[in-house]
Symmetry: C2
Subunit: 351 residues, 2 copies
C-alpha cells in the first residue's frame, strides 16, 4: 500500500482540479490511499466517483497563495494545506506529498519540515521534458538553486539518476552535463570542474556519465538526465515553454485565417491531435523535490485534472520504487566525491 | 555606397551557397558593393547573374575549417578567407564583413584584427529570434562570454540597443534582463547587480529598461532586446532550436503515418507552409559581433543561399544605419556606469 498526501488547495483551480484527479488516480491504482488535505468547506463536496474507502480528509485552516511571500508561507501560515500535507510525510503517515502550490513556498516548507538528506547541501527540482524519441528527458535543477558549485551539480546528477530509475525503470540512466559545447574544455570554471567530478563519479560506478550535452540535446533524448544549475535550467525550461506556446498560437492562427484554412483544419485535425498528444506537456507534469528526507512532488500551478493525476502517478511510482532509499544509497556511495571540496581534492591529484 | 567583405569559403557549403546569395543580395541592393574573398579556384566560376560591376574578388590562400582549434585559425592561417575579409574592414575597404565560418575562430580573429571599442571589455554575439507578434526579439550574448559581470551585461544592453535601432529602425528599443522571475529580488548576485545598473542606466536615459524577463518572454516579444550572459543565452538558443526541430520532426511524422494522413497533409500543406514561413529561422540569420572597432556578422554554418542573403542584408542595414557610430555614442554616454566597478560604485551609494 502506498499513501500519498495531497495538498488539495494548491494551484490555480484548487479542489475543482485536484479532487477529480484524485478520484481518477485511485481508480487506476488499487493499492493507493490518499490523504486529502484542505479547508473543510472546500472538501465537503467530494466527487461521487472517489473511492471513499481509500481516502482520508485532513483539515487545514489556511492556504498558501501564489503571491504569498516565503516568510508568510513559512512562518505565519503554519496550518496551511501545503504544510499539513508535508507534515504527513514527516510523520510517516504518507510516503509522498503532492502540491500544485507556489514552488518557492513548497521548497521552503519541505526543506524546513523534512530537512535535507545527509550529504546533500541543497535540494533541487527535477522535471521531465518530452523528447523526439517518444520518451522524456529528466532535467535538474529547474530553478531552486541559482548559484551552484561543481559538487552541487554532482549531487544533482546522483539524485537525478535515482529518480530516473524510480519513475522510468531504466537501470543505468545516462547523464549529460548541460554546456555550450560538447568538448570537455568548454564552459565556465564551475562547469569544467563539474565535468571532472562527474567523470570521476562515472569511473567509480556512481553514474553513467556521457559528457557534455547542449540545449538542443534535451529534446533529442541524447541522455536520460540533464544536469545544470537552477538558473540555466529554469531559462531552458521557460524558453522551451515559450517557443511551444508560440508554435501552438501560430498554428491556430494559420488554420483560422479564412474559410479554406478552416476546412483544411477539419481535415488535418486528427493528425494535429495525434501530434499534440505526443508533445502534451500535461503528460510530463510532476516535478520531484530531490534531496529531502521525504518525497515531495510539485505539480504545475495551471494543471488540469489529467495533468495533476500525472503528478500523483509520478509520486506513486517514486514511493513504490523506493526512490528515497535509492537516493540515500547512491549518495552514500558517491559521498567521497560529493563532499564540499570534492572538486578541489580532485584537482589536487592527477586525473 | 556600402561595401561588404564576404568570406565566401565559410559555412557547410562554401561558395555553392555564398556566391548565389551574393548575387541575389546585389540584385536587391543597388548601392551595395561586395568584396568576395576566397580561394582563387573556388571563385573562378561566379554565378552568371552576379553584377560584375559591383564585385571584386580577393584571393585568400587558406580556409578556417569548423574543426580548426582557435590557435590554428588565429596564429597559423593568417591568409584565411575569414581573416582577409575582416582585414578589409580594418583597412577601411569594407564597412562590414560577413562569414558563415567557425564562430569561435571568427570572434577570435575579429577581436585580434579589429580590437574592442573603448569602454567595452568583451565583444558579444547578438542574434534574433522570431516572436509571436510577428517581429523578432534580439538577444545577447549568445555564447561568446561564459562568465559575465553586471557591467558586462550593461555593456551588452547598450550595444544591443544600438543594434536594434540600426537593423529594425525602432527608436527606443525596450530592454529586458533575462532572469528566473520578474521580481527585482530574483536571480543570482550578478543578475541583481546588473538589474540595479540597468535601472540606473535607464534613469540616465541610456536605455529603455523594462526590468526582468523570463525565458518564455523571448518568444512573446515582451521586449525588443533580451540581455543575458553567453552561457545562459547559448542554452536558451539551442534549447529553443532543439524544441523547434522536434516539433518539425513530429509534425512530419504525424502527417506521414499512412495514406489518410498523407492526404490530410496535401490539404493542410498551404496552411503549414504559411505557418512555417512565419517561424522560418532563415529569415533571422545573421548575428552581430558587437563591441569591435568594425562590423562583423556571423551567418549560421548550415545557412542556405536565402539565409546567407539575410545575413548580408543585416550587415548592410547595420553599415547603412551607422551602427558603429551609434554604438560608440551610446557607450560614451553610458561610460560612467560601465566602468569595471560600476556596480560597486552604485551599491556604495543609495539607489
Amino acid at each position: 500500500m502506498i499513501t500519498i498526501a495531497v495538498d488539495c488547495m494548491g494551484g490555480d483551480y484548487g479542489p475543482a482540479v485536484t479532487l477529480p484527479a484524485c478520484a481518477a488516480f485511485l481508480a487506476s491504482h488499487p493499492d493507493a490511499h490518499l490523504l486529502l488535505v484542505g479547508l473543510p468547506e472546500a472538501m465537503a463536496k467530494l466527487p461521487a466517483s472517489i473511492d471513499r474507502a481509500r481516502i482520508q480528509v485532513i483539515a487545514a485552516s489556511e492556504v498558501v497563495t501564489m503571491d504569498d511571500p516565503l516568510e508568510v508561507a513559512l512562518r505565519r501560515k503554519r496550518d496551511s494545506s501545503m504544510r499539513v500535507a508535508i507534515n504527513q510525510v514527516k510523520d510517516g503517515a504518507a510516503q509522498a506529498a503532492v502540491s500544485a502550490g507556489n514552488t518557492g513556498a513548497l521548497m521552503a516548507i519541505a526543506r524546513f519540515v523534512l530537512k535535507t538528506l545527509d550529504g546533500i547541501d541543497r535540494p533541487a527540482i527535477a522535471g521531465q521534458m518530452p523528447n523526439v524519441t517518444g520518451g522524456a528527458t529528466t532535467m535538474l535543477d529547474l530553478g531552486a538553486n541559482v548559484d551552484c558549485s561543481a559538487e552541487h551539480l554532482l549531487q544533482f546528477a546522483v539524485m537525478g539518476s535515482a529518480l530516473v530509475v524510480a519513475v522510468s525503470g531504466k537501470e543505468s540512466p545516462t547523464v549529460g552535463l548541460l554546456n555550450i559545447g560538447e568538448e570537455a574544455i568548454k564552459g565556465n570554471e564551475v562547469i569544467k570542474q563539474a565535468g571532472a567530478l562527474l567523470r570521476a563519479a562515472a569511473a567509480n560506478g556512481d553514474l553513467n556519465f556521457k559528457g557534455n550535452v547542449e540545449g538542443n540535446d534535451i529534446f533529442k533524448g541524447v541522455v536520460d538526465l540533464v544536469v545544470c544549475d537552477g538558473f540555466v535550467g529554469n531559462v531552458a525550461l521557460k524558453s522551451s515553454e515559450g517557443l511551444a506556446s508560440m508554435v501552438s498560437t501560430l498554428i491556430k492562427q494559420a488554420f483560422g485565417r479564412n474559410i479554406l484554412t478552416k476546412m483544411a483544419a477539419i481535415v488535418a485535425y486528427p493528425v494535429l491531435s495525434a501530434f499534440k498528444k505526443r508533445v502534451d506537456h500535461r503528460r510530463y507534469n510532476g516535478a520531484a523535490l530531490l534531496g529531502l528526507r521525504g518525497l515531495v512532488f510539485k505539480s504545475h500551478g495551471s494543471a488540469d485534472a489529467f495533468a495533476f493525476e500525472q503528478a500523483l502517478v509520478r509520486a506513486y511510482d517514486a514511493a513504490h520504487n523506493q526512490l528515497l532509499d535509492n537516493v540515500r544509497a547512491r549518495i552514500a556511495h558517491a559521498a567521497p566525491l560529493m563532499a564540499a571540496k570534492g572538486a578541489a581534492a580532485l584537482s589536487a591529484t592527477p586525473a
